[in-house]
């Protein structure tokens, strides 16, 4: 947890002398992988980040998108993996806290949270169950207390996360464009630290997160206090309304070291601060501890002398501690003092910009071998296979999770959790659709197409609510980047995301890279996570009850792409084969057509076809509406596949549309006109889902029975396993 030899030499050369002890601690925190992105930064530049709606301001930690009528939406995504793997309750809770403060820093109110959670195999691994249970409670206790609805997310279990946890949190903010904080300061302005006291928790957290998890260093995990966070949100927004904030930054990884150096560097000024003025939780903290503590619920605010009393009054109203810890200077130097003596003095630009690395990469040898592995043969009883997938933890209803999250507070949640994407109403009469998606099983076999697939899946989900994707955030989670094979998977994923962004003209407005995600059994599977924001100008497609006689249309081609499918991995315990690929032309064509049909109001329900394939997507539609469906598999547009492959292939660019009879002709003809691969594959009726292939019945399940187990199996597993 200290500077590398070459980094120390670089620093010495840059500042023209040997750095002292405090300086080394400050720079080590800021130059950690977690804060500096030193392995990834040169590559991240390939992501397109411009667009008509994108607003760029210096020093923002969140992406800002203009949604019209003088309003903006902000978005950010982060993870708290290492801390959550050690202490799931506190780790997950503080993960929520951190991302919310990034939204707040732009001057917007956080209005929604989404969580992506990944753990080991909870059917067998009691430790994974413990991690899962406590991470969910941590998120619930934190988000609920703040009154920010947790409206969506995903939960996945995979052996590759044994003894580990991925806890990703995305947050969305909303506000008026004119109230965005511009982050400008000049010499003489006052630097204020607002919020919780600085303690010894979370010291070295950024470095801890930048190493493989070999020691369970609990002191590096921060302690959550949602009540203080709530007060900070209200105090900050009140100060924003009164125009008291010239610049603001949240204290996250790297603590004060990171916040001070990055703020000074972004604004092109210097900051001088006195560690003795920082309100601490315990006595006798060393300056280096104060500078690198990652105690939560703290904000760095820059105001001027004239407005300081007003800011202090607001802090007093909310009983939020607020210390004047320093001032802005004109010399671009980050200076740390201890009342009289100077402890550290370095150019902010040097501290904030670690020397970047161009790490070597190499295609992993496992890839070809896995792709060419002999694929398993079909089981005889496909009804049983479908049921066992429906009850598997990855596919079963996640109601046990989202039922613990307050997803209604804020009274914006139009489409609630449990559907494809969540939809929130905005004050200008428009709607925002949000979704996050990841798929490590696909990414492990094909990092590039896998990442593109996650991107498309998130888009498909927002499109199914009638929204047009307007921006994305990515969270790239991989193992140790010093391993060229792992680094290759990182680069491939990044290339895939970039291609997708460009083809669809969706700007990347923010993101995060989390490396060194290693478990005792090796690296995690590549886990890029994509969050997509979609905008609905008029009416969202809310979940409606499917009625008897409604037709089922499948858009897209079902291909021989079962590698990384739930069917192979859960049923056959088989890792290998060809993972689904994305054909960008076909992908965009299908998406545009489906969106325009949904927007024309001709569709009763739309659902994307993803995990578990067609069989699961159709079952989900039926279970939600408690209605059966007769499906003719021979009508599925496909490439000469056997029944099991048609049912369980996870090919992308596929959508299910439910259309009432009277509108069927019009929908079919518009699909034909647009030259979209599609077929009417079934109709809804009765209380059984029947799959038949050329008149032979292939599988049959009762909707009520399937629903009962699908709905309850995760809860049963968590509580009674």
């Amino acid at each position: 947890m200290s500077l590398q030899k070459e980094e120390l030499e670089y620093l010495t050369k840059k500042i023209g002398r040997q750095p002292n002890d405090t300086e080394r601690h400050i720079v080590a925190a800021e130059w950690s992988e977690h804060c500096s992105y030193k392995s990834s930064k040169i590559h991240l530049k390939m992501l397109p980040n411009k667009g008509a709606r994108v607003i760029h301001e210096k020093g923002y930690d969140s992406g800002v998108l203009d949604v019209g009528d003088g309003y903006v939406v902000t978005v950010h995504i982060e993870s708290h993996n290492h801390p959550s793997a050690v202490e799931p309750y506190g780790g997950a809770a503080t993960g929520v806290g951190g991302v919310i403060r990034d939204i707040l820093s732009a001057g917007t109110r956080p209005i929604a949270l989404l969580d992506g959670l990944r753990f080991g195999d909870i059917t067998k691994d009691s430790h994974a169950r413990w991690l899962f249970k406590n991470a969910v409670t941590g998120i619930a206790d934190y988000g609920n207390c703040l009154g920010i609805p947790t409206v969506g997310g995903e939960v996945e279990f995979d052996k590759c996360y044994s003894n580990y946890a991925l806890v990703d949190v995305a947050s969305v903010g909303f506000g008026k464009k004119e109230r965005l904080i511009k982050n400008q300061a000049k010499a003489g302005d006052v630097v204020v630290l607002m919020g919780g006291s600085t303690g010894r928790d979370g010291i070295g957290g950024a470095q801890f997160a930048s190493d493989s998890l070999e020691t369970e260093d609990r002191s590096a995990v921060q302690i959550p206090d949602p009540f203080i966070e709530k007060l900070i949100i209200e105090a900050t927004l009140e100060a924003r309304n009164e125009g008291l904030i010239k610049a603001i930054k949240d204290l996250g990884g790297g603590g004060l070291s990171c916040a001070i150096s990055e703020t000074a560097d972004a604004m092109g000024v210097g900051i001088e601060l006195d560690v003795n003025q920082v309100h601490t939780r315990e006595p006798n903290m060393k300056p280096a501890e104060i500078m690198t503590s990652e105690s939560q619920e703290r904000m760095l605010v820059i105001t001027d002398k004239k407005r300081l009393p007003k800011l202090q009054k607001i802090c007093k109203k909310f009983r939020v501690s607020c210390s004047v810890i320093g001032k802005v200077t004109g010399d671009k130097i980050m200076k740390v003092k201890d009342s009289k003596s100077v402890l550290a003095s370095m150019p902010a630009e040097i501290v904030a910009n670690a020397p970047l690395l161009n790490r070597p990469s190499k295609e992993p040898s496992y890839l070809k071998q896995l792709q060419n592995k002999k694929e398993p043969t079909s089981p005889k009883d496909l009804s049983k296979t479908i049921l066992s997938l429906l009850f598997s933890p990855n596919i079963a209803s996640k109601i046990w999770v989202y039922g613990q999250y307050d997803h209604e507070v804020g009274i914006r949640t139009v489409v609630k959790p449990g559907s494809d994407a969540a939809v929130l109403r905005l004050d200008n009469g428009k709607y925002l659709s949000v979704k996050i998606d990841g798929n490590p099983k696909h990414c492990y076999l094909d990092p590039k197409n896998g990442a593109m697939g996650c991107f498309e899946e998130a888009c498909r989900n927002v499109v199914c609510t009638g929204a047009e994707p307007i921006g994305m955030v990515d969270h790239l989670q991989f193992g140790n980047p010093e391993n060229p094979e792992i680094f290759w998977t990182f680069l491939e994923s990044l290339k895939g995301i970039t291609e997708f962004c460009k083809h669809f003209e969706i700007p990347c407005v923010g993101g995060k890279v989390s490396l060194y995600n290693e478990t005792p059994h090796g690296p995690i599977k590549p886990t890029p996570l994509i969050g997509v924001l979609g905008l609905i100008e008029k009416t969202p497609l809310k979940p409606q009850k499917v009625m008897p006689g409604d037709a089922l249309i499948l858009v897209g081609t079902t291909k021989d792409e079962l590698g990384g499918s739930e069917y192979y991995e859960h049923i056959h315990d088989f890792i290998g084969g060809k993972a689904p690929k994305i054909n960008l032309t076909e992908s965009k064509k299908n998406m545009d057509a489906v969106l325009s049909i949904i927007q024309s109001g001709q569709v009763r329900a739309a659902h994307d076809c993803a995990k578990g394939g067609l069989a699961i997507a159709i079952s989900e539609l039926c279970m939600t509406s408690q209605i059966g469906c007769a499906v003719s598999m021979d009508k599925v547009p496909q490439q000469k596949l056997d029944s099991a492959k048609i049912l369980f292939s996870e090919s992308h660019s596929r959508y299910l549309l439910v259309v009432e009879k009277s509108k069927l002709d019009s929908v079919l003809s518009s699909l034909r006109k647009k030259n979209i691969t599609h077929s009417q594959i079934g109709s809804f009726q009765g209380n059984e889902i029947i799959f038949s292939n050329k008149k032979n019945q292939v599988a049959k399940l009762r909707v009520d029975k399937a629903h009962e187990k699908w709905f309850n199996s995760l809860r049963e597993l968590v509580l009674h396993a």
Partner: protein
């Protein structure tokens, strides 16, 4: 906010009472449904609404007070217990004694119980988890300012969102509640092991009502997946009651 979407509601409600009902929404540190309640009262029902911070004095001319949901003081010690000792509560008590309608929702209910304006306690849910779901209420008392427009036994689809929402009262006092007609809402099914499925109660006089479910989350058709007319009647009852008094 949401003006156009609320127009029809506004029009319907306005017809009930043409004067302007003055309502205070009390905000404690940690309240988080205060803005939702404010929006509903002001934008949906067109009332004259003001926020009052927990240290404020309440003006004498208020027609009603609402204690919104949230986590006052982060639910420390016990939900609602610290807020119950806020300066504003002594004003609420004085005004309640004079018969002013007071509604406590969720954490507001917990605060009313902790400040002894209402009997009983709210315990941690038996699941030990926070519960956020839609449920159904049955109106058991239509003599309060918040239920006067309901028929007895009428059903209300409404969401709950709480971690400490299990109402408890001992047998002897439960009998008193029943005798005095203080049970206002019951859950349609046993969702959290509350005594006698109690979801909301009132004081003996009937003017102070506390309920765990969130009516402010159920009055707008856009976010209510079921039927928002019944929840609307909670607020329409208040408007009618205040109107009748003026």
């Amino acid at each position: 906010m949401f003006f156009n979407r609320c127009y029809w509601l506004w029009f319907n409600n306005r017809a009930t009472y043409n004067g302007i009902v003055k309502v205070g929404v009390i905000v404690f540190p940690g309240s988080n449904c205060d803005r939702d309640m404010f929006h509903v009262l002001q934008d949906v029902f067109k009332l004259d609404v003001k926020y009052y911070w927990h240290e404020d004095k309440l003006p004498k001319n208020l027609d009603a007070v609402v204690l919104p949901g949230g986590f006052s003081y982060g639910d420390r010690l016990r939900a609602g217990v610290i807020a119950a000792h806020s300066p504003v509560i002594s004003d609420v008590k004085k005004m309640a004694e004079k018969g002013m309608p007071v509604l406590g929702v969720c954490n507001g209910f917990q605060i009313l119980v902790e400040s002894e304006l209402l009997p009983g306690v709210l315990l941690k849910n038996t699941s030990l988890n926070f519960m956020c779901q839609w449920t159904e209420l049955i109106v058991k008392n239509n003599k309060t300012p918040f239920t006067s427009k309901f028929k007895l036994g009428q059903k209300i689809p409404i969401p709950i969102a709480n971690g400490e929402g299990r109402y408890y009262i001992d047998k002897e006092n439960l009998e008193k509640l029943k005798k005095n007609n203080q049970i206002v809402f019951q859950y349609g099914s046993n969702i959290n092991d509350s005594v006698f499925d109690i979801a909301g109660i009132c004081n003996k006089e009937g003017n102070v009502v506390g309920m765990m479910p969130h009516p402010e989350r159920a009055v707008e058709p856009e976010i209510n997946p079921k039927d928002c007319a019944p929840s609307n009647m909670i607020f329409q009852s208040l408007i009618a009651t205040v109107g009748a008094r003026k």
